[in-house]
Amino acid sequence: MRVVMAEDNALLREGLILLMTSAGHEVAGVAATGPEVLPLLLEHRPDIAILDVRMPPGFRDEGLRAALEARKELPELPVLVLSQYVEETYAAELLAGGARGVGYLLKDRIGRVDEFLDALERVAAGGTALDPEVVTELMARRRDDPLDALTPREREVLELMAQGLDNATIATSLVITERSVHKHIGNVFAKLGLPPSDSGHRRVLAVLAYLNA
């Protein structure tokens, strides 16, 4: 894959470039400030953009703003946003235009290289990757009966669905068969009163819409 990334911290930038090249991806361009991002994306038209939230010149949310602009200018471009901390508000802003090809992860997650590369590929392929911390916050906020009616296993499945994982990955991470994942998902949707939804970004949106309501 051809990647354009924006990261102002030299340590993390070198680390990410090393990670990308060792995983066989090509780093087409690197931006170190917010305003550089969009022109670079328009120039290189990469397969995915990896953007840090806080960047010069203001050290506020330049990267996030760049990501939102990029999604408007290049709707087909998958964007993965990385940050030292996650905010529900930012997740909501990123997902406002749909969950197709959107990722929002804590930088901590890069450490789990395999999972991080999976998430990267999932987003590049049009999927979704939402940080577990955002999902946990959303889940903690809903204190109503339908969620309480879920079994612990079904809650786990719901959380992983909200993070954007597909059935196969859910099965692997919970060490159960895909068949039982399928069954759990059926139960979750029935208990929450949601129409059954196919795998992928539409399902993520349905689940998030429910959690956000």
Partner: protein, 397 residues
């Protein structure tokens, strides 16, 4: 006809004001005498114990006149005294040295005269005033001229009392300095406590995790050749430790200065708080997002006020609706948070002993944080609700 009735009623009210003023004059007579007498006695040591009490009573009398004057003019008359505390010697010294005592004595001596004189003047005026205005208004149909003079007398009395009872600029400055000294000491103490808390959090949290992480990496290196399975397990543990350290650090950072405040300013951060509160919150940011931003400490205090009150509302109010309003004025930021819950939050705020864990201590922390910035917190929470928390923070925009 109504006009003249109003004038008569007004003159009557003025006369009552003058009458109570004369009553105060009589008490002045008594108090000035008592204070001077105890002052003389103090010189012979016997009266020393009584002097501070006598001065306090004189202050109370002056306070009564301040309230009376404020009621007549509709304008509060501020007071500023040195506190009479400590040992007897200190109290006597403060009582004698306080410029407020001197001003009170001067006022007492003056009121003694003008209180009486003005009442007599009013009493003498009444009969001729009624005659003159009866003729003037009744016969000639002109505006009454003599009766309003009685009101002027009461005005004069209030003006004299106000002038004499207003604390001198020096006394007011002294009081302000006193207040600033206290709030600054609080601010320094609060900052010290905050630094210690951060130090402890880092020491027990992230630092400990990093030490453990480093240890596991060292062990993994030793085991690498002979026992790769163990090495792998140690590496996994090391990664867990690294993640825990990062989580801890994020937590500490949020406690120091929430990153979203830096990113989005107060209005944006408050909206994010509202969205994440689990309540249906109406946010009215007023003009808070226009123009330059408030100082970081003020924004952080405002943020923690909203965070704390929304958390309390979600936990204890029993309501699922709340309203947050921000307003900025010249040199001021106002925050008000209102919920339609069951109320009764004042006790937990003041006493911090009700069952609601965190509610009380959180409220106390909030008060300290606001007071350190020279701001004020007002909580109204009658039983049955609604609970309204209003905070005012001074700041240069």
């Amino acid at each position: 006809m109504t006009d003249v009735r109003k004038t008569v009623r007004q003159a009557w009210k003025a006369s009552l004001h003058l009458l109570t003023g004369a009553g105060v004059s009589l008490l002045c007579h008594l108090m000035v005498g008592v204070v001077l007498f105890t002052a003389v006695l103090t010189a012979t040591v016997i009266g020393a114990g009584v002097l501070p009490e006598a001065v306090l009573t004189l202050r109370r009398l002056a306070g009564l006149e301040r309230r009376r004057t404020a009621a007549w003019t509709g304008e509060p008359v501020p007071e500023a005294y040195e506190p009479l505390t400590g040992t007897l010697t200190e109290r006597v010294r403060a009582a004698v040295g306080d410029p407020g005592t001197h001003r009170d004595l001067i006022w007492g001596a003056a009121q003694l005269l003008y209180g009486m004189v003005l009442l007599y003047a009013a009493m003498i005026l009444w009969a001729p005033a009624l005659l003159v205005d009866g003729f003037w208004y009744g016969m000639a149909g002109r505006e009454p001229v003599a009766l309003p003079l009685i009101t002027r007398l009461a005005d004069l009395q209030a003006r004299l009392s106000r002038t004499l009872l207003l604390p001198s600029p020096r006394a007011r400055l002294a009081e302000r300095i006193e207040q600033l000294t206290v709030t600054r000491a609080d601010a320094v103490a609060a900052q010290g406590a905050e630094l210690r808390r951060i130090e402890r959090d880092l020491h027990d949290g992230a630092q400990a995790h990093l030490v453990a992480l480093s240890m596991r990496l060292g062990l993994a290196r030793r085991a690498y050749d002979k026992d790769p399975t163990t090495a792998l397990r140690l590496l996994e543990q090391a990664q867990d430790q690294a993640e825990s350290a990062l989580t801890e650090l994020r937590h500490v950072v949020r406690g120091i200065h929430p990153p979203i405040l830096t990113d989005r300013g107060l209005a944006g951060a408050v909206r994010a708080l509202a969205a994440g509160s689990g309540l249906d919150v109406t946010v009215d940011t007023g003009g808070a997002e226009d123009g330059p931003r408030a100082p970081a400490a003020v924004e952080a205090a405002a943020y923690f006020v909203v965070a704390e009150t929304l958390t309390n509302a979600a936990k204890h109010s029993g309501s699922d609706r709340a309203e947050v309003r921000l307003r900025r004025g010249p040199g001021r930021l106002w925050i008000s948070v209102r919920d339609e819950g069951r109320g009764g939050a004042t006790e937990s705020g003041a006493g911090a002993k009700t069952g609601s864990a965190g509610g009380g201590s959180g409220m106390l922390g909030m008060r300290r944080r606001v007071a350190a910035l020279d701001g004020t917190v007002q909580v109204t929470s009658p039983s049955g609700g609604p609970t309204v928390i209003e905070v005012e923070l001074p700041c240069a925009w």
